[in-house]
Symmetry: C2
Subunit: 568 residues, 2 copies
């Protein structure tokens, strides 16, 4: 693999304008988001900034998407908080150190999966389950931020506890905080709802208006910071602010870790890697398709792995490709990952020289930006669609969302994986099978339930419409046994294997057992239309040897053999 | 459901002799095994006896196998020990109480799964993974028993630590214990290897000889107990013995439990339920097939659930259908679960009147019976077969076995489930797809790579040979994108859906996205040969509406439409 990525080697001057504009706009979104998501993760503000520098550059070198914007994102920040809160006090040095370790572990896992070409890991989660997970997380995040809007302490184990705690703390509400936070929330909501239309009304193009509306959070941050700083509201009215943010680029290196932290963090790290990968790939894929570009899942694993390792080495926390910033990056005209590199360079300037400006930034305004950002993630459309189309999928979605809200984000995602795989196994365990007969006067064989066909007395011919493996092998056995017990004249059982692309060891065992048990009853097992690669592998087995002379190229030949058998 | 099971309502007098003989022989196996497996689980001997009374009767009423012998088994006893050792001191009252709770939870879960008709749960584990799990557990159990043979204290976190601890403890070996234990081990090994042949040599039938050889453990128990009692070796030479076993039937009822025990035990209980169910169903199924009977997985869940609840209510620990005793029960001529009921009645007599006889039974001899029993479970045949047939399956087997030995039985089974499902998703994520063309002069369409067929310029026709769902939907998308990008003349993409039995919500989303993105490039997505039930569900969706006029009954009609399109 060439160390210089394709996009850089073939860079065209005409791409630069788009990349520069997109880089600038994304930076203006990224500044409040990186601070807000650090707050959400329970980390000091600078950790969010650090996670927005090197990770972007690392992804640019290894990732396959041209427009993905990597950095801190809401759901992964929530997962970080949920992994670390049992282990250390939020904001403490230990807590930061564990967040770095979490990024290191996630990064190493992603990189390892990429080297092993485990891109198929993305398929462990179905879309309804992902949608339920994101929706549940969004609600969990939004509810968790309400305390910052009120300026109270209220923390619950789950959404319902948190609501209760909020209700109890309501009398302690700090009205100044509420005014700042509530005001920002209202402004951001109105901006999202109407600002773009308004700007179009005053003559901006639809695209430019859309883009400008995305800058509302930065505006809220600037105005509210100025207000707090001007009146000294943090001191006079107890408004919680971001406070001192260390100025200067992060030093590189890793803190020391002990084995017990590794044991506590490997599972959360794996879940963050999986969720981050799935979320990121789906954004990258949908953007790539719009420009007829392609995403390579295994390269995405490498890119996101490198990004998380870079985050860990520069004092950051877990990152992935974010939905909102990527969409803006794409719409603003980003042509290559250079847009990201430009925004990383701009962020570096901020970190090196301007962190003092964030001192008076009220936490309530960051909370408002988080709430507005995550409510955009709540996805009822998928639920509605799944409900009409496939109840099982809709129930998985609801269960995952409720799981996240009631049990937390880790238990929720594990539940989601379990539901996805449970549905897969359940569906797989009912393979489609059809008893077939001959279409009169032809060599074609069709389902007896659907066509006027002729069967051969004494022969049960079954077509299996799926590959045979552990999840469905015993269903085949059950079906054959039922057919044999229902037909006392049966002397031959034929499996038509035209749709069997694979037979795993479990299914081989079942076929072998079936042949043996039919044999004990004086019956023969026959196979027809076995595909070449399947036959090649069967031939080396005991079962293959015992089947000698009972495997037919065509179903027609098998029917003929049975007829000949009867005449003997 | 009739409360009286079929076998009892239709009981024939001619079945009684077989049931009685089998019940007696199984009892003679069950006495030493129930004591030994209680020892293995870290429980007092009487708990093993209690688990061999009511559970058998409960299974007889609800289960579907005619010959399964339910009760304490090696692997589940090991899992019990592994679940409880972190929570209480083995043998203590707390420990016993937690074991009862574990049986209660497993039983409730099994019963719940049965009522929900979750028999498909058995398909979560592939045969190679089960084989690896059993083999790993057998090694773990056998190595864990060696300390009893030597009469030393040696416990390790895994097989390798245990070996190390044994080596260090070797100088403390109690030679009397070693003589008793080693002698029994040698005797049992010789008995298994040669006794049956010897008995055939002196005139017994093969079947009777086989049966008699199974009684060797009882003989070892009787002789060694007599030796220890006669010379008072427990006191004079420090030989650990079973000691006082309370006489009398267990009282019914449940101890009180707190929430924290439930939280600690739900996962082990779930794993015990899953493993117990899978192990039991596979024994029951293979025995049933020999007599052309059938097993109903959902009834097995009910039967095993009731057995575990019965165990919990009578002071026992988790039980399931055991391999060795079921095979003997079958071979001894058991016709119905009455054989089990008879053996439960005999066990009740033992518990009520004869527990004093076990006082001087040396633990070393029980350890020897465990070692001999579990070495019979080590299954290298499946490994050899899988290695030749399917390396992925063989590697899953080895990984699961090593996982059990190195990480313990719970981590091992979780690894096994993960490997089974990982293989399933991995295989599913590569569905078979073929580009098809027309067999000249016919309306048949075949794979272009295998047949001499004619394609239609501008049309890419792809046949998908599997149902579409989340694990393989994106593979379809990738393949179509690759084909489209390779053929700049393409204007139409046709999916031949003759093998698609189902389209889940995720795949529906992918198809919808594909149609949209092809549309943006001025291309059409067409479908042909969509099955009735699939089409019915598609019609209610937005995608279905957008596809109006682009779905064709036959591939022939779709080709004709494309040709007509070009002439316009």
């Amino acid at each position: 693999m060439n160390p210089i990525p394709d996009w850089l080697r073939n860079y065209r001057a005409s791409w630069l304008a788009g990349d520069a504009v997109a880089g600038l706009i994304v930076t203006v979104m990224l500044i409040p988001q990186s601070l807000a998501y650090a707050l959400l993760a329970g980390l000091p503000a600078e950790v969010g900034l650090y996670a927005s520098l090197l990770p972007i550059v690392a992804y640019a070198l290894l990732g396959s998407s041209m427009t993905l914007a990597v950095g801190p994102v809401a759901v992964v920040s929530l997962m970080t908080a949920s992994a670390l809160q049992p282990l250390a006090a939020p904001g403490s040095a230990d807590y930061v150190q564990l967040a770095v370790l979490l990024a290191l572990l996630s990064g190493a896992m992603l990189l390892g999966f990429g080297l092993l070409r485990f891109g198929f890991l993305a398929h462990f989660l179905s879309h309804p389950v992902i949608s339920g997970f994101i929706t549940g997380s969004a609600v969990l995040i939004a509810v968790g931020q309400l305390k910052h809007l009120l300026g109270v302490q209220a923390q619950g184990e789950n959404v319902f506890h948190t609501f209760l705690a909020l209700a109890q703390a309501l009398p302690d509400t700090n009205l100044t905080v509420l005014a700042l936070g509530g005001g920002s929330l209202l402004f951001l909501w109105l901006a999202r709802k109407f600002l773009a239309k308004l700007l179009v009304g005053v003559g901006l193009s639809a695209k430019a208006a859309d883009m400008a509306a995305k800058l509302a959070p930065m505006l809220a941050v600037m105005v509210s910071t100025a207000v707090v700083a001007a009146w000294g509201l943090d001191r006079s009215h107890g408004v919680p602010v971001v406070g001192a943010v260390p100025q200067g680029l992060p030093s590189l290196g890793l803190p020391a870790f002990d084995l017990s932290s590794l044991q506590a963090l490997w599972l959360p790290a794996l879940l963050i890697a999986l969720v981050g990968f799935v979320e990121s790939v789906s954004v990258a894929q949908s953007l790539a398709l719009k420009r007829q570009q392609r995403i390579q899942p295994n390269r995405e694993l490498l890119g996101l792995g490198a990004a998380n390792l870079a985050s860990a080495f520069s004092g950051g926390f877990p990152v992935t490709g974010g939905f909102a910033r990527s969409v803006v990056n794409f719409a603003a005209g980003a042509n290559t990952p250079l847009a990201g590199v430009i925004s990383a360079a701009l962020m570096a300037l901020v970190v090196a020289f301007f962190t003092g400006w964030f001192h008076a930034l009220p936490q309530a305004v960051l909370a408002a930006t988080i709430i507005i950002a995550v409510t955009g993630l709540i996805d009822l459309g998928t639920l509605r669609e799944a409900w009409h189309y496939d109840k099982a999928d809709a129930l998985s979605l609801i269960a995952t969302a409720l799981g996240v809200m009631a049990l937390g984000v880790e238990a929720g995602i594990l539940l989601g994986v379990a539901l996805s795989l449970g549905t897969l196994v359940w569906r797989s365990s009912h393979p489609h099978m059809a008893v077939v007969g001959r279409v009169p006067g032809t060599e074609h064989f069709r389902n007896v339930d659907r066509h006027q066909v002729v069967t051969e007395p004494g022969l049960i011919a079954v077509r299996v419409d799926e590959s045979l493996y552990f999840a469905n092998a015993s269903a085949l056995q059950d079906r054959i046994e039922a057919l044999v017990q229902a037909d006392s004249d049966a002397r031959h059982v034929l499996l038509v294997c035209s749709a069997v692309n694979q037979i795993d060891t479990t299914a081989l065992g079942v076929l072998s057992e079936l042949q043996r048990s039919l044999g004990q009853r004086g019956m023969r097992l026959l196979l027809s239309e076995v595909k070449g690669p399947v036959m090649d592998r069967l031939q080396g087995t005991d079962f293959g040897r015992r089947m000698q002379g009972q495997v037919f190229l065509s179903t027609h030949a098998a029917f003929a053999d049975v007829a000949a058998h009867k005449r003997e």
